[in-house]
């Protein structure tokens, strides 16, 4: 993937030395890492199956330093991979061999919280959850809540347009960012969006959010804060049949209810989670649904009664409504810990991220099980059922014969299935390097060319996060030989 960017080795070495010499004086003490031992922690993100050591890691602690690093990389035409907490699951922050990793981990300051305007201005390295914690005394919070919210940063959330378990009601990152201060690859700083609700011209904010670090570097974000609902309650419903559970999801929506969260887990996922967090999940159920209602006390009472009725009518075998906030959090703790819980059962796992029209839930889950058997691997499914976003977790052991290859092939087959039923290869984790080939499946050559055009509009030399998200024509012709690209 990075081959095209890497000149001959000796020439490479000269360029590396020249780069380090230029960067060193720009950064604070300890702000430039190049010793293999020091940069090892940066060799991958949450997609650990792909690793690569960059030339160096830059850890600036001021905006001016970020800009200076970008300028040097621009002049020397060295690729830059921006990194937040490195929790991404698609390899969006996987380093480029002959490149720089630009870590924004030191930008951890919440610059301002304005309770009246309901917004927070934060640096890119601020953790997602830290914003909600800081806003909590004011009765406010930042709504998008990816499962990694304890660790992941707002800069990374912007790059990936992260979702979470509450986005059916509260939206994705793109719905909760008001303004960004962004450095372009040549060091120019632009401000897009405003603290007003819209601004003139094309909606560059929509373009930047979810651009996987390929268009610009976030220097500061203004996020929308939402009033914390007075109460929230969750009901856990057990089903003996996946189709019934899928239909229950549709029935809730058809009843005019938009739950604050609506999650599904299959039996293997429930078993993994229960052994890990002891949340009291029903281990005999084929599928469980978690449906949350939030709002004022009256609203929640009304909505919860309606949801329980729909769930019962849809064939739920057992319903458990949280009786306290502690119990509610316990129910959620299991869902939020699903990835690490599965991680305990297997040396390695791949987390897929397709989104499908909800009506195909049962069909897709059945097909996934068949595909898993064909590939001789186990899969646990957790699912943002409310918005059709599926997270099959493929368990494997990379140290055993061809298991990684089989896992990758199974993952690809699941993505193809998602596209086949009218969905997408990624709902919230991003394309990164993991799914760059499957982009050829979802988009035509002309559409991919348009994406490359967008990239070039911001970064004509293609230095920001090269090789990610948008495949080259060569990627696609190779993929066509093996797959079924458009």
């Amino acid at each position: 993937m990075t081959a095209a960017l890497s000149p001959a080795p000796d020439q490479d070495d000269t360029r590396r030395v020249a780069l380090l010499a230029r960067l060193l004086p720009l950064l604070p003490t300890g702000g430039l890492l190049s010793d293999p031992e020091d940069i090892k922690p940066y060799e991958c993100d949450g997609l650990t199956a792909y690793r690569c050591l960059p030339w160096c890691v830059a850890l600036p602690d001021s905006e001016a330093q970020v800009i200076a690093v970008l300028r040097v990389c621009h002049v020397l035409q060295v690729p830059v991979v921006v990194r937040g907490a490195g929790t991404g699951l698609s390899g969006g922050a996987t380093p480029v061999a002959a490149g720089v990793v630009l870590s924004l981990a030191r930008f951890m300051r919440i610059i301002e919280i304005d309770p009246l305007a309901r917004l927070a201005r934060v640096q890119p390295g601020v953790r997602n959850l830290a914003i909600s914690e800081a806003a909590a005394p004011l009765g406010l919070y930042y709504a998008p809540d990816p499962s990694s919210q304890i660790a992941c940063t707002i800069g990374g959330n912007v790059a990936e347009n992260s979702g979470g378990v509450h986005c059916l009601k509260y939206g994705l990152t793109v719905h909760n960012i008001l303004k960004l201060r962004v450095a372009l690859i040549d060091g120019e700083v632009i401000e897009i969006g405003t603290h007003a609700l819209d601004s003139p011209g094309y909606d560059l904010l929509a373009l930047l959010i979810g651009s996987e670090g390929m268009l610009g570097v976030v220097l500061e974000a203004t996020v929308k804060l939402t009033p914390r609902p007075t109460v929230a309650q969750v009901v856990m419903a057990s089903f003996d049949d996946v189709t019934q559970a899928g239909n229950a999801v549709a029935a809730i929506i058809a009843a005019g209810i938009i739950p604050a969260g609506l999650e599904m887990m299959d039996k293997p996922a429930t078993a993994a989670v229960e052994a890990f967090v002891h949340a009291g999940y029903d281990l005999s159920a084929t599928a469980i649904l978690l449906a949350e209602s939030d709002g004022t006390e009256q609203e929640v009472a009304e909505e919860m009664a309606a949801m329980c009725q729909v769930l019962e009518t849809s064939g739920a075998r057992d319903l458990r409504v949280s009786r306290s906030d502690a119990e509610r959090l316990k129910f959620w703790a299991g869902r939020k810990a699903a990835f690490p819980a599965v991680g305990r059962l297997t040396p390695d796992y791949l987390c897929m991220d397709g989104t499908i029209p909800r009506k195909h839930i049962a069909h897709v889950l059945t097909r996934i099980e068949e595909l898993a058997q064909q590939h001789r691997l186990r899969v646990a499914n957790v699912f943002h059922a409310g918005d059709g976003n599926l997270h099959p977790l493929i368990m494997f052991d990379a140290s055993r014969d061809d298991e990684l290859d089989r896992a990758t092939a199974l993952g690809a087959a699941i993505l193809e299935l998602s596209v086949e039923v009218g969905g997408t290869i990624t709902g919230e984790h991003g394309v990164g390097i993991e799914k760059v080939q499957q982009m050829c499946l979802q988009f035509s050559a002309d559409e991919l060319a348009a994406f490359r055009g967008v990239k070039a509009a911001f970064d004509p030399l293609g230095l920001l996060n090269p090789g990610k998200a948008v495949p080259t024509p060569r990627h696609c012709s190779e993929y066509r030989l093996t797959g079924s690209a458009r």
Partner: protein, 355 residues
Amino acid sequence: MTDLTEQLRERILAASSAAPLCIRGGGSKDFYGCELRGELLETRAHTGVLAYEPTELVITARCGTPLAEIEAVLAEHGQCLAFEPPRFAENCTIGGAVAAGLSGPRRVSAGAVRDFVLGVKILDGAARELSFGGQVMKNVAGYDVSRVMAGSLGTLGLLLEISIKVLPRPVAEATLSFAMPQAVALDKLNQWAAQPLPIVASAWQDGMLSVRLAGARAAIAAAVQMLGGEKVEDGATAAFWDGLRDQHASFFAGMPLWRLSVPSVAPVIALPGETLMEWGGAERWLHSDAAPATIRAAAASVGGSATLFRADSTLKATVGAFAPLPLPLLNLQRRLKQIFDPHGIFNPGRMYAEL
């Protein structure tokens, strides 16, 4: 239900920078943006709801489909377009609603057009069919080009089909009114917005604040108790909010009409003329004879922008409909225009002279 793709494609292939196209749906927003230039390319006959399953919360329709038809189909299933696109005339289309990017009173709570766009199919300047986004709620494959189409006034491509997220209509609604000056209304609106109250829209004019509540019955009842004010008779509320949404309300008559988009906490803007304030203070309509530069500077000074919404063509030609962009942003937008419409055949100058 008619598929006009081939005819539209031929017209695009026949166009050139010397003979550009003026894309038009119902024509109800001809007044919006800068001067119309180019040969008329009507999309009104490219119609039909292509997919709608209420439980998927998505509707897909061809651009020329009347907004009225879409809203009627949704209403049958108790759903709606929560961003309340304005209907300046009965024949307005979904394509025009998305291209103009305008949202109505509920925008402040529900979100704007762009927040609901899930996917588009367009014809670009080379008459190629391109699809971005899709019909599912969450989709981060590729740059989010479909949302950029919202509000681009047809300058990036011809919207053939649009997939939009829909929501259930609120179970109950109520409207409260309060007599108070603008500064007090601003304070109240911002304080209320920081609390979990079912306030979905607001309007202030002539010393009278109207607040619209929507949600569960019990929540509305509790909020009415808590907020006080005067409860407006249910029969009169729909007409009131529709009057704002569709701009039939008498305030909107007359020109020039400015639209100031500002932070909701921006104080009362001291400009001569009449004001109507929506969106919890974040949208301020203004009839004023003040110099355009003064109005634009006033909006900019509080971190917002001023659009010359309705005005005679001379004034628009002189000062432009939209606030000028900083050069680096304008350059990026030019490059985006280049990708999708390299020969500048789509609605040239409708947004900015350079696009």
